[in-house]
Every structure is written in C-alpha cells, then in structure tokens.
C-alpha cells in the first residue's frame, strides 16, 4: 500500500519506462557455473559439427570429385559454370533407380508406421488401463524386446521368412518391420496412456460409454500427441533402415531408397562418381531431415510427455 500523496510520483515513474527486451531470469538461473559453461560449449560444438557436416553434404552434392577432395568447404562452381548444376542429382536419380525406390519406400514406410501404431496403441491401452491380469510382466516383456539388438535376429529371421517364401517380398519386409518396431512403440505408448488421468475414464464410464467407445472417443484423441510421435519416430527409423533391406530385398523392383543407395554406392565408387554418390545420399536423407525439423517440437514434447506431469 502506498500513501496517497506518493501516487502522482508513481504514475510518472510508470509512464517513463520501457519494458525490458527480455524479462530478467530468476536469480538461480543467472550466473555461470562451470557445469553450465562446459555444457554450453559441448552443445554448441555438437551443433556446429552437425551444421558443418550438413553443409558439406549439401555442397558436395553439387561438386565434381576434384572439388570434393581439393576444396571440401568451398561452394560448388564447376557444374554451375558448365550450366548443369543438377547434374549429380540427375546422375544419382537415373543410375540408382530412385524413382521406383522412392515410391516403394514411401508406401512401405507409410503402411508399416500406421500399422505399427494401430497395433501398438490398443496393446498399450490394454496394458496400462484395463487392469489386465499380468499386465506388468507383459509390459516388461515388451521392454526386453527393446533391449535385443535386431542385428542378432537377422539370420534366424531370414531363414524363417525364406521358409515362408517371404524374402525378396515387400509384404515380408512389412511384416519384419512391424514386428521389430512393436516393442519400442508399445513401450513408448504405455508411457503415454499412463500419463492420462484415471478420472476421464471414470467419467466416461458414468456417462455410459463402453470400454471400446472410451478408447476411441476419449483416450485415443488425448493420446494423439503420443500417437503422432510414435508415427514420426517409426517413419524416420524405417526410412533410414538399410541392413534388413539389404538382407531381405534382392530384386531391383523391390528396393527401398536405402537399399538402392547401397547399390549406387557400388556403381558410383567404381566410376569414381563421388559427386553423384553424395547427391544420392542427399536425396535419401534430406526428406527426413526436413520432416524432422518441421516436427521437432512435436516429437520432443511427445517424448517427454510420458515422463512429466
């Protein structure tokens, strides 16, 4: 409470001020602790390194091999001077069969990711929410699945799939992708469903909704952030997946982008077409990078949501 006679003075003080450009942080957050300095240095170094690599990748995709080796950090010029700047990209696209591989990859990744989430979401819901008997050991069982490196499973998987006649077959590839991605996805989504309040389900039960309806009209929309995160993470992972594609796919017509890039690697290094090879890498990597940048915020909030709150 200020005394009445001081009011005009206060008003003058209020009028002659400018808001700060950035509000002051709390005293605890201010100042530089050694940990903070080291951490900042590390983060900036890491970021700089990645930016340099990205710069190198993108510029090299427009360079001749000589430029790549002699002037790695210069901007490209030879192909630009010859009036054919996209020559490397064209080379990669034509020689690697990226056109077909692109369609195959988009279809395979899209269908697999959607099916993974469609299977994992009800599973995670049942494990966390329906009070299913033995749901805790079952959740742990899924978590164990996450700990087994899939590389150790490649050979048995291949033999099994070969017996079923599902090698060199996109449907077979789809099955393998879905199966191997489920543990992580189920685990991710259990975290999500756990974080949703019990009261909503109870409210839905009192409103007369069946468990089925509660799942679809109440819980699923609320877990939307988690579902989208799971979808994006799976899409990125599968888009970049190479080992299984190399093992399981042998026919050009079935090649995914990563698999086609592997073939291009052989051909281009034989022909010393390093510019073309790097252009191929850029074609495969950049769509995911763009998607990741666009959706980064969403993914991060999604990943941390299960933890907090």
């Amino acid at each position: 409470m200020s005394a009445p006679e001081s009011a005009p003075e206060t008003r003058v003080r209020r009028e002659h001020r400018t808001p700060p450009r950035k509000p002051r942080p709390a005293p605890t957050a201010r100042g530089f602790s050694p940990l903070r300095i080291v951490g900042m240095a590390f983060v900036w170094l890491f970021t700089a390194l990645n930016v340099v690599i990205l710069y190198w990748l993108v510029t090299a995709a427009f360079k001749t091999p000589i430029e790549i080796f002699n002037k790695p950090f210069h901007l490209p010029y030879t192909w630009f001077e010859r009036g054919d700047p996209f020559r490397n990209l064209r080379y990669a696209w034509e020689n690697a069969g990226f056109g077909n591989a692109f369609l195959v990859t988009v279809a395979l990744v899209a269908v697999s990711s959607v099916v993974i989430v469609a299977v994992a979401a009800p599973a995670a819901y049942a494990l966390t929410r329906l009070g299913v008997r033995g749901s805790n050991p079952m959740t742990n069982f899924f978590a164990i699945g996450m700990g087994i490196p899939f590389q150790t499973l490649v050979i048995p998987l291949f033999i099994g799939m070969a017996d079923l006649g599902l090698t060199n077959n996109l449907f077979g590839m789809f099955l393998v992708y879905v199966a191997l991605s489920l543990p992580f996805t189920v685990f991710l989504l259990t975290g999500f469903f756990k974080s949703l309040p019990d009261e909503l389900e109870e409210a839905a039960a009192i409103d007369g909704a069946s468990p089925f309806r509660t799942f679809f009209t109440v819980m699923l929309p609320l877990a939307r952030g988690g579902l989208i995160t799971a979808l994006i993470l799976n899409a990125i992972g599968l888009w970049n997946e190479t080992l299984l594609a190399i093992v399981f796919l042998t026919d050009n017509a079935n090649f995914t982008l990563a698999r086609a890039l592997f073939t291009l690697y052989g051909a281009a290094s034989y022909q010393s077409e390093y510019g073309g090879l790097i252009a191929g890498v850029a074609i495969v990597v950049l769509p995911m990078l763009v998607m990741y940048i666009l959706l980064a915020r969403r993914i991060i909030t999604g990943l941390t949501l299960g933890a907090g709150k």
Binding site: A203, A204, I206, D207, G208, V218, P221
Partner: protein
C-alpha cells in the same frame, strides 16, 4: 427421483485388513441433499464411488429406490457424478462435454441440443458452448462439470469435493448456487467434502465419517447442538469446541476448580468417573470468577473476536494430525467483535447455562441430556 440406501456397505482395499468403509448404514430420502463429511482419508470418496459403481462393494448392499444396484455397472445406475478435478474431456467443446451422455444414449440430435442449451442456460454457460475446457476459468469448468451432471436428469447426483479447486470467494458463491440448484431440481444428492463449513451450510443432513465408520447423521442444527460423541463435537464448528477432561465426584464434574453439575441420567449413563466436558467458544461468559485463563492470541474478525487462551487445565485434541490442529491452546473463547482484549489479559470464565455438553471419557459417547 429416488431414495438411496446403504445397507451395511463395506469396502476393503487390497493389502489393508481394516475396511476403508465399514458397515455403513445410511438412508437418503428422495430429493434430499446429504453431505458426507470427515477428515481426509476417512472413506468419503470411497463411499461415493461405491454408489457410482466405480468401486466394488465387499459387503452389504446399495439400493437406489427399490433397485439393488450393488453389482450393476455405472451406466445402469442412472447416476451422474461431479469429480473433484471435474474430469472434463479436454478435446471436446463445452457443448460436447455436456452432451456426451445424451449422445451415447442415442438421443436425437435436436432434442440433445435443446437439453444442452437448457443446462447451459441454467448455469450461465451459453456463450462458452463452443470453447474447449482449457480456455475456461476454474469456476466455468466447475459449472461445465455441473452441466454434464444436470443435463442427464439422473436419479442421483454424486459430487466429490466439487469446490475444492476454487478460490475461497468463488467457493462461497458456488456453494449457495449448487445448493439452490439442487433444491430447484429436486434430485437426490450426495455431496462429499472435508470442509465442515461447507457441510453445515449446504446439507439437509450431514453424515460425519471417521476411519470408515459413520459417527452421526443429522441435520446441521442437530449435529451442532447435540454431537453424538467427542469426535463429532470437535469436528463440527469452527473454531472447534473446547473439550476438557474432568473427574466426576458426587453429582458434578470439576473443571479448573469450578464444579459443573450432571443430571441424574447423565450420572447413571457414565461408565467411569471421568467425563469430557464440551463447551463451544460462544458458550463461555467472561466474568469476575470461574476458570482463570490468559489470552495468548486474539483473532479479530470484526463481527466476533476469538480469544485463544492458555489455562492450567488439560484438554482433549480430536484431530489426529498436527496440521489439522489449530494451535495447542487450552481454550477458545468468543467475545464480541472489537472488544479490546489483548495478549496477556487475564480472564475468568464460566460456562453459560445450557452450553455444556458431557461425554463419557471412556467411550467418547455423549451422555443423555
């Protein structure tokens, strides 16, 4: 509309050998507003959740009207519930939240819209119908939760501390709004709160629970004027009743050198020679003789003044936990507002006629008047 009957209803939780609600016998009349009150953890929510069908019933039965609902799922009980945190569906608009039950019940769209509008009008929510709950204030959310209940026109309303997330002023306003809305609709209501003021101001009758056991169920006046035992005496009323253990010799109890007579019936009902004398803060007269006490804290409310005094006599604490206890003072005395008492003043106190309650010290039960 219907009555609600708890018939020896009992609830255990896994891993706990003592029941959370123990053989509860309670009849709620048609259209009655019954408040369940008691300290935190006494089993109020459990009782309500059993009625709603969200919690199993381990013993006894619950009836709504003539129907035994003990084993029915929530949706077949025709009850509506208002949750403590409202439990609004965050991804639905206010209108969809209110109309969710009607939609599930497959009510035709026009009628549904009409019913939602009526409920919204009743609760002053019309301009918010298209908003999501996140964009509403606490009070508005609370009203949406109410709307979701009243739009159903159920047989019973269940409300679990619906005001506890509101600030003090809004809580007082909403308290009267809910009470008058309930009287207008005439729907049997069971309302849970830990706040005895809320209980006393809202309920037709108030049921006091402690450790899962019903202590007393009576009108607010009945509870206040004739508490059935020491616990109810200490729990109801704010500041709480002064409870003073005293020895009985002959026909009277001795408190701080002053003797207070017992009636023959009281003397006969007593199981030992010790009683607890209960006197409310407003039951004392400040005079020139009687129990002497020293003022330690003066709480000035304008209309009243509460004097927290120390005195050389023992006293009984009813609240178990330290934070529920007001302060370790022997006495609370009400004086007229702005009376000019100060810390350190010496008082001589005598109980007013008819203001003394006697309880059996051994059992805690009230002695007959």
């Amino acid at each position: 509309m219907a009555t609600v009957t708890f018939d020896g209803t009992t609830r255990y939780y896994a891993g706990n050998p003592t029941p959370a609600v123990d053989t509860l016998d309670l009849e709620v009349a048609d259209g009655e507003f019954l408040v369940l009150v008691g300290p935190s953890g006494c089993g109020k929510s459990t009782t309500l959740r059993m009625l709603a069908g969200l919690e199993g019933i381990d013993g006894g039965a619950i009836r709504i009207g003539e129907r035994d609902v003990t084993n029915l799922p929530p949706k077949e009980r025709d009850i509506a519930m208002v949750f403590q945190n409202y439990a609004l569906y965050p991804h639905m608009t206010v209108a969809d939240n209110i109309g969710f039950h009607l939609k599930i019940a497959k009510m035709p769209k026009e009628e549904r819209v009409k019913r939602v509008r009526e409920a919204a009008a009743l609760l002053d929510l019309e301009q918010y119908l298209e908003r999501k709950p996140a964009k509403l204030s606490g009070g508005q959310r609370q009203r949406v939760a109410m709307g979701r209940a009243i739009v159903r026109r159920p047989q019973v309303f269940c409300m679990d501390e619906p005001l506890s997330n509101l600030d003090a002023k809004l809580r007082v306003q909403t308290r009267t709004q809910i009470a008058s809305l309930q009287r207008r609709l005439g729907v049997t209501t069971i309302y849970v709160t830990h706040d005895q003021t809320e209980a006393m101001t809202m309920g037709d009758r108030v049921a006091v629970l402690r450790d899962g056991i019903l202590q007393q169920c009576d009108t607010p006046i009945g509870l206040f004027s004739r508490p059935a035992n020491v616990f109810v005496a200490g729990f109801i009323g704010s500041p709480g009743m002064n409870l003073i253990p005293a020895a009985v010799s002959g026909e009277s109890a001795t408190v701080g050198g002053m003797s207070i007579p017992l009636t023959p019936a009281q003397r006969a009902a007593l199981t030992s020679d010790r009683v607890v004398v209960g006197i409310r803060p407003e039951g004392w007269s400040i005079g020139s003789s009687g129990v002497s006490a020293v003022v330690e804290v003066v709480e000035e409310l304008g209309s009243d003044q509460y004097l927290y005094c120390s005195a050389d006599i023992p006293h009984v604490e009813v609240a178990e936990s330290a934070e529920e206890r007001e302060a370790p003072h022997a006495f609370t005395v009400r004086a007229p507002g702005m009376s000019g008492w100060h810390r350190g003043d010496k008082l001589a106190l005598t109980p007013q006629a008819g203001a003394v309650h006697f309880f059996d010290a051994a059992t805690g039960d009230r002695l007959p008047d």
